[in-house]
Amino acid sequence: MILLFFALPMGVGAVLPFLPSLLRRNLGLVSAGVTASLFGLALTQIPRVSDGRPPVFSFDWVPSMGVNLSFLLDGYALFFVLLITGIGSLIFLYSQQYMAHHPHRLKFYSWMLVFAGAMLGLVTSSNLIVLYLFWEMTTISSFFLIGLSDREEGSRWNAVQALVVTTLGSLTMLAGFLLIYVTLGTFELREIWARASELQESPLLIPTVALIIVGAVTKSALFPFHIWLPSAMVAPTPVSAFLHSATMVKAGVFLVARLTPVFVGVAQWEVTLVILGMATLVIGGVLALRQHDLKALLAYSTVSQLGMMVALYGLGTDLAAQAATLHLMSHATFKGAMFLVAGAIEHETGTRDLRRLGGLVGAMPGLAVVATIAALSSGGIPPLSGFVSKEVLLDASLASSGVEGWLLPLVLVVGSVITLTYSLKFLLGAFFGSPRYATQSPQKPSLALVLAPGVMAVAIVTIGVYPALVAGDLISPAVAAITQRPADVSLHLWNGFNLPLALSVVVIVAGIAAYPHIGRINDLLSPATTRGTFVRGYQATVDFTYSAVPRIYWHLQNGDLRRYVVVIILVVMALVTAGLIRADGPPFSDLTKDVDLGVLDYGLAALVGLGGIAIIFRRRRLEAVFNLGFVGILVAAIFALYSAPDLALTQIVVELLMVVLFMLGLRHMLRMFNVSAARSVVALQLVFSAAFGALVTVLLLAVLVTPQHPSISPFFIENTEAVAKAKNVVNTILVDFRGFDTLGEITVVAIAAVAVFAMVRAVRERG
């Protein structure tokens, strides 16, 4: 059943192009139907989940590496499933109208459905590797959706930027997951939760935490990786609303929450997340204030809000988890609605530039009501859901101790003031004031464009007035799943006169008071927060990579074979030397034991050595070839001396053939055998070669004094007569035990023979 959540949208997404034309005209409704039915299915699971009997599924995929297709629909996963499918259904409904004449309609729906499936798989998976796979699937679908208009340079550039930043993070995160595996030997989330203390005592704890945080922070567009999210706004508005505000960017938040039971109490985890989150809250908010583009404003405000959620989950207390979860839901509803409103405005007026908009309330009263509810909820005005969640946020921050006890509420209040101010800018700038329209006069938005954000607005009001509706069945199991402790959440619109309420009043008064001075505030802050700095940083990094990599590449791969040889040999020598030093001088004295050497042993070795030295001084081709043959025959003699007659016979045959082949070719190759080289170069080559040869000898001796591993040869010796009915063990290994290997070898030799034949024939024909 759990598998349906990701399989159904992906499956439907794959078959979209093959649907009958009636359905193909209504892809928005088809997709909305898919997500809505999954929403219904998820609803039926609420009683089971809140009873503490979450559905699970597990299938051994690669058990030897701990990779299992395991899924878990606990309270937090279910919360996300409802969010994704609920928001998703409304956005698909909206797209039916909004995307009706888009040139890439089909591609849009396919990728949106694939994304929905990937996101649902991500939140339900309970194996880190499976989670990572779904995580990358969301990255890839996001890439294609941002780059939907693939003929436009800007669209492609922004898609690539988002891909580069988020993939950088996810690969880092994967390294963190692997470190968890190194420590615990499992990727299973439930086992990791249970064995959190082992992980916390591990020396790898700090790198693990750091690597995973990079993944979460890039995905959720936290400072300093926030640049990709505003760039992603080139995608059509439904994409921005769905991926880049309500769901995908929350994957980082999700991961932080999922790992809360593992890292709770780890100072580095907590402090890093709180600092990054709080910094992002303020920086994102300030950047949002400056924007005139409705979607850019919303993008930065999303960055800002994500920062706040990450900070709260980073705190890890029950109350903080509750506050962040509740706010996650309110944010998804009000930000989703605001995006859809912005899309509707652009659809009807042709612009989303606040400097060219104003007074739309007369032309679109319905949309204005929806926008008012969403923007005020974003600003934290009662009785809307944003107010309720902001109260809990303040409450949770006040409950923390130490420096955080006053710093956190302070930053939160500042952030909330900024949030209210830009929400007012969004609302008042577009809908109120003197009517200023863009080039075309506004049309009344069609029902579907108002309906989808309208449903979200209804949810905002309902949850705001009656928060107990979601508290027991939805938020409580979610918080319990995050903290791995039973949770009992009770939420109220009115909590009596207390400190959070007082702070809320301060926020509201300050926010409204600040609105008229927005221009001056921006001027004051502008030098510190221009988007250009970060984009330039990204561009410089990319440019550097593009210019440095080819330079390094052409330096190493310059086509000069001898340089490759030198580099390879130098690396080998360095590694071998390092290994020998680490081995601390093997007991070479052992070599002198059991010496049983005669004239033959010394003589053969000396002759081989002599041949090896003489050959480098040969100045005539024939001499060199015969010298090579001489060495080969000596090697054969060594094989014969030390009990390997088969090798000796083979070597002799091969050596004779080799000489014949050389003679055949050399006949036609008269010039250029000796190329003069500078004396110093030759000397350097000699020293280098001598050093290499010496190192080979030392390495070989070091290996010889190391104890031997037990050989598997007794198996072959025993079975040669018993099973293969043969006497010669070497031959039997070749043609019987390892027969297929030899077959492959024969094939190689046959191919070489064909080539040799071709050459011989060519030589004969040309004379």
């Binding site: 086509g559 091969v654 290499f692 010496a694 070989l700 010889l704 040869s713 070898e745 030799v749 070489a752």
Partner: protein, 113 residues
């Protein structure tokens, strides 16, 4: 027992490397063949050298006293494959020489592109 052979292998490897660094392709090919002799002998030596212990089963001979037959089988494969490879390499060299009229690696390199 293995010391003299080990030194001889070092000499072969060093000589092979020197030839690999030369500009003449023929020398490079010869260097490669010297290197493969060194490699085969290295594997052979690492399996420990024994005299009079041919791994052929006969009545009354203790199997434990055999030289390691697996090593020999592996080297036999290596010799034959090495021969196939060398033959192919030689043909390539001769063909290149016929087409280009030079066996100088520096000349060949400048043909690129």
């Amino acid at each position: 027992m293995e010391i003299p052979i080990s030194i001889a292998i070092g000499v072969l490897a060093g000589g092979g490397l020197f030839l690999l660094l030369q500009r003449s392709i023929i020398k490079v090919v010869i260097g490669l063949l010297l290197m493969s002799h060194a490699a085969n002998l290295t594997i052979f030596t690492v399996g420990r050298l024994r005299k009079g212990a041919v791994p052929v089963i006969e009545e009354g001979v203790q199997a434990q006293s055999f030289a390691d037959p697996l090593i020999q089988a592996l080297i036999l494969t290596a010799i034959v494959i090495g021969f196939g490879l060398a033959a192919f390499l030689l043909i390539l060299t001769f063909q290149t020489h016929r087409e280009v009229g030079s066996d100088d690696l520096d000349d060949l390199r400048n043909l690129r592109g």
